[in-house]
């Protein structure tokens, strides 16, 4: 008897100029399963899902829904077929409210007037049911990335979709949110919804997925049952070789202070309180200091303040002894500050510029790249080619590729290459491995450690506990705009960090409700770990 497949994508081929993004890929999604799609950056996972969602028309191949051949010509058609998607880079209208975004495209009207009340009720009910906490009246531009994702998920639920595509959903979430998302996905499965789940993270696949299809350089390597797999075996399938999952590093030998922050206050854009409330810390040569915390506790504003993107209202910031509290961005950059930004599309890249133009974004004004104001094209090209080679940045047309057309992971690699190659004294890396595959994460981590060993100061801001535990030499936990604890990664554990990150530091420990919450979170993580070990 034939299997009950809700979606079948058979022999899909999709070409872009200079690259075969999908080459004869077959993927079959059973009804009511969580099906992971695993592959390196640029392996063609997002492309395959975009084909299913009607954003791209494949050159070859057939898509079947419930056994019948369908043509998904555009996202509206996909929606009619019950297919919904949360994109890696969210597709939200920034200046609309959360509620507006959710109902956009399927607005209920009566005599041409929007029926907000019913929509609001439905959204709030869904929000309640799946524990997707959102503020329906907040503007999307003012909410955190994590909340934006919840809005995207609500969008799918609001449309009663039965096939849900998640394109790297956990890349932007906190550990707690990841656990919740996993739970939500299991609930969806229980209700008979089918889930396609793109990820790089082995632990997540092992925790929730039933089966897993692996792509390598555009080709389908095969589909395996997740039961019986290990992180190592999955990584091997994905990259085609063994990958070291642990960061290898010598003990750090800190030197003189490079970054000195004293009593820094940064106002918030989204509310009247200060986002950073009088923070003080140092980063020394030869050490990686990590700011850990749940998304939205002032880390973003802290970095803006350091980078000169936001005026600080109190306190001082010194770099190598020079007071740079009021210096403009360029001056800070000249003093030796590099910044891998949190949001690569907002800050890190000019998407419509070519790769080579983006690679010189921080240096185009240097004598190496210009002569009396005229850009030296040859020098830029040579430099870009060197970085592309050294950092394995993959793209369709090399230096002249428009960055917008590159995969998220390779965009990130381009930024990292640019910022590290500047030879900074201080490297601020905000979520540097967001959206990268295990192979690339390992190489970014090695690169950061190499910077440290070369006597640079590295300030890491990360939401990923794995990264927080493995990479830094010191951990500072941030909660509601304050640093609530400093830890030595060798002497702490995930549980302790989790407690401080949830705001249950020394001050409020003992509150029974909070303890219960923390216990629950930790419990879930343990279960996930166990599942991972299995």
């Amino acid at each position: 008897m034939a299997e009950d497949y809700v979606i079948e994508m058979l022999h899909i081929t999709k070409e872009f100029p200079g690259i075969k993004a999908n080459d004869d890929v077959t993927l079959q999604l059973r009804r009511g399963e969580i099906h992971a799609l695993l592959g390196e950056n640029g392996a063609g996972k997002s492309t395959l899902m975009s084909v299913l969602f009607g954003l791209y028309t494949p050159e070859k191949g057939v898509i079947k829904k419930d056994g019948r051949e369908v043509k998904v010509s555009d996202p509206n058609e996909a929606n009619r077929l019950g297919i919904g998607m949360v994109h890696q880079h969210f597709k939200l209208v920034e200046c609309f409210s959360v509620l507006d975004n959710i109902i956009l495209g399927v607005e209920e009207t009566k005599h041409g007037i929007l029926q907000y009340e019913e929509a609001r009720k439905k959204v709030m009910a869904l929000s309640e049911k799946y524990r997707l906490k959102v503020d329906p009246d907040a503007l999307v531009e003012n909410i955190t990335v994590g909340m934006q994702q919840r809005v995207e998920i609500l969008k799918m639920l609001y449309r009663d979709n039965e096939v849900l595509i998640f394109d790297e959903p956990t890349a932007v979430l906190t550990p707690q949110e990841i656990d919740e998302l996993m739970e939500i996905m299991r609930n969806f499965r229980k209700e008979g919804k089918s889930i396609l789940f793109i990820t790089h993270k082995m632990a997540e696949i092992l925790a929730v997925a039933d089966r897993c299809t692996i792509l390598r350089k555009g080709r389908g390597i095969g589909t395996v049952d997740v039961a019986g797999q290990t992180p190592e075996s999955l990584s091997r399938l994905m990259v085609g070789r063994d990958v070291k999952l642990k960061v290898e590093k010598k003990p750090s030998v800190p030197g003189e202070t490079v970054l000195e922050v004293r009593d820094m206050v940064v106002p918030s854009r989204s509310h009247n309180n200060n986002a950073v409330k009088g923070v003080s810390f140092n980063v020394r040569r030869g050490e990686i200091v990590c700011i850990a915390g749940i998304d939205g506790n002032g880390q973003t504003e802290l970095v803006y303040g350091l980078a000169g993107l936001e005026k600080i209202t109190r306190g001082t910031v010194r770099l190598c002894g020079t007071d740079m509290t009021n210096l403009p961005v360029r001056a800070r950059s000249k003093l030796g500050m590099s910044h891998i930004p949190e949001d690569r599309h907002k800050h890190g890249l000019v998407l419509d510029y070519s790769l080579e133009q983006n690679l010189v974004l921080q240096r185009y004004w240097q004598p190496d790249f210009q002569r009396s104001g005229v850009i030296r094209k040859d020098a830029v090209r040579t430099y870009a080619e060197r970085l592309i080679g050294a950092y394995d940045i993959r793209s369709g047309q090399g230096p002249v590729t428009v960055v917008r057309s590159m995969s998220g992971g390779n965009q990130q690699k381009a930024i990292i290459a640019r910022e590290i190659d500047k030879q900074p004294e201080l490297l601020i890396a905000v979520q540097p491995t967001r959206g990268l595959d295990v192979g690339a994460i390992a190489s970014v981590h090695q690169e950061l450690v190499a910077q440290r060993d070369a006597g640079k100061a590295v300030l890491l801001v990360s939401l990923e506990l794995e990264e927080v535990m493995n990479l830094p030499d010191r951990i500072l936990v941030m909660y509601e705009g304050e640093i609530v604890g400093e830890f030595d990664p060798a002497k702490t554990n995930v549980q302790e960090l989790g407690i401080y990150m949830a705001g249950a530091g020394a001050k409020i420990a003992g509150s029974p409700r909070l303890d219960k919450f923390v216990d629950k979170v930790l419990d879930k993580r343990e279960k996930r770990k166990e599942a991972g070990r299995k």
Binding site: L349, V350, L351, L361, V374
Partner: protein
């Protein structure tokens, strides 16, 4: 050897798409002609399409109108590339014209000095929207529209209170317009240079088209080759990313508007220093600056492309003018606009062509 599929030859498809859009535009334009005056439609169409090339004098007129239009198109396109919508080209054009005329008639300066004056005038009128945008985040569209009106009335007041600039001071009777340049200061007329050998005594022709094309090349060079252009386009594409890269976005907004203003101002200068037209003190904004918007958009703000789009628009306008009296100037304006509007569909047409070609290929493959 494998032949490259037609659908993938980008350049060919682009040219095809442009030609197809223009042909469709002309067809629809013809339908409009039929509706307005069926008897004279064929004749009118012939006049519109043929006039520009019918004589050297008419072609000279096309070039004469192209020069200021090109400069206004460059002004709009340059600002657009840097993320600003300069709808104030008209005001800058008017201000440039006044500065040029003042230099020519009152100060009795030679033509090249008058053109420098015109650029300064336009630049001054461009800097205000730029400053407001940079320091108070006032939308440049609003400020530049207001500055169109302020500029026009200010120039009228200034002219009315400068008796020496008016035609009545130079032997003519009317005081509602500026003096004819030939009477007031023949040295301020833009020379015809080598053009005279080709165009003979055509009153339209002078070297202004070369000045405008030179400006287009300079602007192209700035945008494509210099660090300054790199910064400007970065601000236009992604203001946040340019802040992150340490580019002074506010300074660039102001400079960009100054350059855009200077370009429009130069347009005003060369238009009025040709000697064929006098500035008339009326209460309406000069259209040249607004026509720069389609000239720029038709060329996707590409400076070199703007040369051709403004030639195209001027050619149609000269043709349109010759359709009178069978058609009123308003209806020829409509027809010209329809054709320009349809020409802007080139992008859509390009996708259609690729689609049709790919489908045909699929069918062949199936057979």
């Amino acid at each position: 050897m494998k032949k490259k599929p037609l659908a993938q030859n980008a350049a060919l498809v682009s040219v095809l798409a442009s030609i197809l859009s223009i042909v469709i535009g002309l067809l629809i334009g013809f339908v409009v002609l039929l509706l307005v005056n069926p008897g004279a439609a064929a004749e009118g169409m012939a006049a519109m399409l043929g006039t520009g090339f019918s004589s050297l004098d008419k072609f000279g007129k096309v070039l004469y109108q192209t020069a200021p239009l090109l400069l206004c198109g460059l002004s709009v396109g340059f600002a657009f590339k840097t993320g600003l919508f300069n709808i104030g080209a008209s005001g800058q054009f008017t201000m440039g014209a006044f500065f040029a005329l003042y230099a020519a008639i009152v100060l009795q300066l030679p033509w090249w000095a008058c053109l420098i004056f015109s650029m300064v005038g336009g630049a001054i009128w461009g800097i205000f929207p730029g400053l407001f945008k940079a320091f108070f985040n006032v939308n440049e569209v609003i400020t530049s529209i207001m500055f169109n009106w302020i500029g026009m009335y200010l120039v009228n007041i200034l002219c009315a209170n400068t008796p020496k600039i008016l035609a009545s001071a130079w032997g003519a009777t009317n005081s509602d317009r500026t003096a004819a340049i030939a009477d007031a200061n023949a040295g301020a007329l833009i020379p015809s240079g080598p053009m005279k050998a080709v165009f003979g005594d055509s009153s339209w022709i002078n070297i202004s088209i070369f000045i405008a094309i030179l400006a287009a090349i300079v602007i192209w060079f700035i945008l494509e080759k210099t660090t300054f252009g790199y910064e400007l386009k970065a601000c236009g594409n992604n203001k946040e990313a340019s802040r992150y890269a340490g580019i002074n976005a506010n300074r660039n907004v102001v400079i960009s508007m100054v350059i855009a203003g200077a370009l429009s101002g130069l347009g005003g200068g060369i238009y009025f220093l040709a000697g064929t037209i006098q500035y008339v003190l009326v209460k309406s904004i000069l259209g040249m600056g607004f026509n720069g918007i389609p000239a720029a958009l038709l060329a996707s703000s590409n400076p070199i492309g703007t040369i051709f789009s403004s030639l195209f628009i001027s050619y149609l306008q000269v043709g349109g003018a010759s359709m009178q009296p069978n058609f009123s100037s308003e209806s020829t304006d409509i027809i010209v606009s329809v054709i320009i509007y349809l020409a802007a569909f080139a992008l859509l047409m390009r996708q259609l062509i690729v689609k049709v070609l790919t489908k045909r290929k699929d069918k062949e493959a199936k057979v």
